[in-house]
Symmetry: C2
Subunit: 377 residues, 2 copies
Amino acid sequence: MSPPAFGFELLATDGAARRGRVTTAHGVIDTPAFMPVGTAATVKGMTLEEIEATGAQIILGNTYHLMLRPGAERIARLGGLHDFMNWQKPILTDSGGYQVMSLSDLRKIDEDGVTFRSHLDGERLALTPERAVEIQHLLDADISMVLDECTPFPASEEVAAESMRRSLRWAARCRTAFQARPGYGLFGIVQGGVYPALRRESAAALIEIGFEGYAVGGLAVGEGQEVMFQVLDDTLPALPQDRPRYLMGVGKPADILGAVMRGIDMFDCVLPTRSGRTGQAFTRRGPLNIRNARHQEDTRPLDPECPCPTCAHHSRAYIHHLFRADEMLGPILLTRHNLHYYQEVMAELRAAIEGGNLNDYAAKFAEEQERGDWGIG
Amino acid sequence: MSPPAFGFELLATDGAARRGRVTTAHGVIDTPAFMPVGTAATVKGMTLEEIEATGAQIILGNTYHLMLRPGAERIARLGGLHDFMNWQKPILTDSGGYQVMSLSDLRKIDEDGVTFRSHLDGERLALTPERAVEIQHLLDADISMVLDECTPFPASEEVAAESMRRSLRWAARCRTAFQARPGYGLFGIVQGGVYPALRRESAAALIEIGFEGYAVGGLAVGEGQEVMFQVLDDTLPALPQDRPRYLMGVGKPADILGAVMRGIDMFDCVLPTRSGRTGQAFTRRGPLNIRNARHQEDTRPLDPECPCPTCAHHSRAYIHHLFRADEMLGPILLTRHNLHYYQEVMAELRAAIEGGNLNDYAAKFAEEQERGDWGIG
């Protein structure tokens, strides 16, 4: 049996929102989809069984972390990232570019690519468009991302234009370097800062090169939700209907809802996992900080309407205690809840689009988030 | 329906070894039994579902930690320790005495009890025999332990005798303070250092007071396995056949095997959990340190004969990577394996006693442990 071709099927729409299905070498992804972040070949604190139980159909791996440790060649020798971590569903990897710029030392960027020193051991390394694609191939990512330059924010139109055009030249090199295989895809990344003309230029040039999907990059960098939604409004009409669209690094549940309503299909964000480790829970009634003393004798679950195992089995009082006592189980239970909650919101969004009632869902969602915690201050 | 009486049923013997069943308010415990340590209302890094899946029928809670945070009265208001952590099977709590002596500051011990400062916030607190029993009642422990004085090791016979006799006076006060309830029991603790006459004196005096079970304390403090086994040989014949016997704080798998062969029924130890966090795995072929570089491309499980989910799903190479990258999942996976392994050894011991072939099992166990890792150096 030959592996399935990489593809995107549009199943339903509601306004600009899309209900779709991405097919990859390792299975399908129902969209709109949220991808938990599995930086170093692990979604922090979660066992494989727990991630699967959240309903996640795809996770994201970070090329920068994995190339440094344990190394892309080592992962390839061990059968690729799926076998290494035993996650047999789809994986998307980023290109490594974003983390090189935010985490490494002594980085230098030029037309060829980026050179930098590992933040782990100081080793001098280079990341070019070709190497970024090669690493993602070694990792066996179902979806690879082109290497792009991270445009600073804020940036003048001139700076944003130069940066975006360099990213386009890199995108073309990535396309050339990418070895086509059934079920594997390479996504281009639309850049251009907050400038509609640049975003449209970027989109048109990427479509000309041709990718299996298109990401919107350079957002969630401090521009705020309003500006982000404006950029999506300016950009998404320029993208083809028959390819998946991925908004990188976003976001809060309300950000995801607004982006879905504008036509985004895929998301990734560290918020549910990172917040889970620091004590913030996302709920149907907005976020809550479990470290707050008001929870210390509260026998209710984090979210009384949540069917996740954390909410089914444990009280706020208990999780509060675990965080106060610095017990590993606190982050574990809260991360598990947050990932379940995110996947439930995605399932509700998919159902709302199928049912043609996304606007009603959005109104109810906003009303509930604003109503605040269940019956307490 | 009235709760079951606290009891111990002797189901089979093989030499001095006993196959039994303890009945408590929250269920039965098949012995020989190993109790994972759940210090602060959590077995570190393990979810409830994971502990249950190991086959553990009872866990241990630490009175000292719980009285400081979140506090015994708070746990009582929240329904007791079972409801607080949602572990609905039996719980044994220690008396707090051992940790007061090892963890707190400015402790002072006299006939009344111990006064000390909390290692968390410096609060001045007292632990008397009566308060130790009251706290364990507030926690709703199925099995409470008497407060005893921890005899230093090594200790002269005179020091050991004085300490043991103070512990006896405290044991009598604990017995008086303990509120009898169906399904709940109080265990006495045999002390007396390495001196057979003192051990026998302690046992006889405790039996005279009368307890639902008897522990052997003051071991696993550096005396070595040979001395420990000698103390058990000297002590256990003095204990009644119809009550469970608990060897506190022991131990390595081979220690447990030897103690079972001498007639011990119950064990607790931090080794499987603490070692799991630091990278040591217990296996049928002895311990291994997963941080060792020889594991970095080893695609085999920790223990090829182990049916636990860690060994079913993950390679040594992956767990090695998780420890090198300081990822929470490393300790989680290794703790899970170690707890499964300990429970499997206990199940094998119970089956061997039932089958009357404990000596054969012990020989095979020792041979396998000494054979070393499967086919590698």
